[in-house]
Symmetry: C2
Subunit: 290 residues, 2 copies
Amino acid sequence: MVQHTHQTAPTRHVEANGIRFAYRRFGRHVDKNGSVPLVFNMHLAGTMDHWDPAVTDGLASDRDVILFDNAGISSTSGEVPASVEEMAVNAAAFIKALGLVEVDVLGFSLGGLVAQELAINQPTLVRRLVLVGTGPRGGVGMASLTPEAQRVFGATYEHSDDLWLAVFFTPSDRSQAAGREYLKRFRLRREGRDPEVSEKVAPAQIEALSKWGAPRENPYTYLKTIHQPTLVVNGGADVIVYTVNSFILQQHIPNAQLMLYPDANHGSQYQYPALFVRHVSTFLAGRDFG
Amino acid sequence: MVQHTHQTAPTRHVEANGIRFAYRRFGRHVDKNGSVPLVFNMHLAGTMDHWDPAVTDGLASDRDVILFDNAGISSTSGEVPASVEEMAVNAAAFIKALGLVEVDVLGFSLGGLVAQELAINQPTLVRRLVLVGTGPRGGVGMASLTPEAQRVFGATYEHSDDLWLAVFFTPSDRSQAAGREYLKRFRLRREGRDPEVSEKVAPAQIEALSKWGAPRENPYTYLKTIHQPTLVVNGGADVIVYTVNSFILQQHIPNAQLMLYPDANHGSQYQYPALFVRHVSTFLAGRDFG
């Protein structure tokens, strides 16, 4: 059997909930020892091609990795729903359509909101949870894009990829240099790339984000219902979803670890991919550490 | 050459600054690849015997570990100074008296304050810094013992070791069970144990803590002068030095990672010793991760 990687895994399709979902699956299929696949949930305006192969292949070295486009995004049919809750319903339908009964779930930014909903609504389907660069319902500065995010997304860039240098990395020389390496890596896949998202995607996603982030009474109480072991990861200087939201997640989810990385913005896992892979692998292996 | 461990390493002495320092040194002496010893700095009222062998031997498996009693404590002569700054002067004198020119420094609680001072005042001597269950000058709830700490230290216990169950672990069944394992482990060394500290130690240490913790203008500015790569670790529910202080340390030290562990109080590294050892080893190895 061919061992696929981030660069070579074909885009395949599966139908669920009236949607034709595009996905890629690669890595080490370990059936013994109860190894479980890890499903990645993408950020605002992202496709399967925005994941960093240093992260996905790194994690795929000892597990089964699944990337997918949720409804209405890139190679997947349908419409982007205007709520996180509906996005999670679609994600659950996709996972079950693959015949899976237990998965680990990683969500980045908007994908981290979807991952929380999945964990709450699918308590037996979701075993462990990795929340990256994300925050709680009613989190700090989450009722709309932060001022910094508005500036970054509103600016024009010489090369369109340069947007991600501003979103994911700090202004420091070291972080920007790491960012340029990330840009190279996510362009490494040449064939069968996902089309960029249509202009309808971001507005629906931003509406969903804003509903999720709206202030409310006792906003963090719901986090007590996330019973899965959870790893929360972020940069120490995230200006897109403020870092304090990661601290709040750790403080309110009953069984959560927090990792913050230095001099890192929203894309800390792309700035320190080897460290991130090691921390996530240790966390997902879990059993040694009670 | 005998490979000593936490249980077997003899207590040795070295003279510096007019003080006869007691210390134990064990683990793997790696001279090639520039491996650096790791010096442990102890908490309030603690001796070398309060370290967890699961932590010290775990870290000693690939490095040179040094435990010591600072001035006035247990097997070391002299008086406990009533300031963190003087404690750090003594610690530096001890390290240099061993002929060392570069060390990594781990400090727990009060030891974490001493470690910060060491890092600032000895920028070439201290290579990397691990701050466990500690906080900044003027930190939250640090101007005196917290109400929870006052209650815990003021209570009476059936067995004197039970104090540490309340200081280091949460009330949950799981955390208390981990605590009882820790109590067994730190009693494993039978011969050549340190005497408990005298009744003069805690008052001087508490005076030093209170001066350090007193409110002041711009209390966290000084953290910008810690240039060493730093790993901050704590339990997510520390009631002795509130967890938020670890978040503050990460936010203000220029190159700091933060790890918070779930359902863990002041002694999170004793609740998750294998995980802590893995995280600290990864951090101290450093080079792979830029």
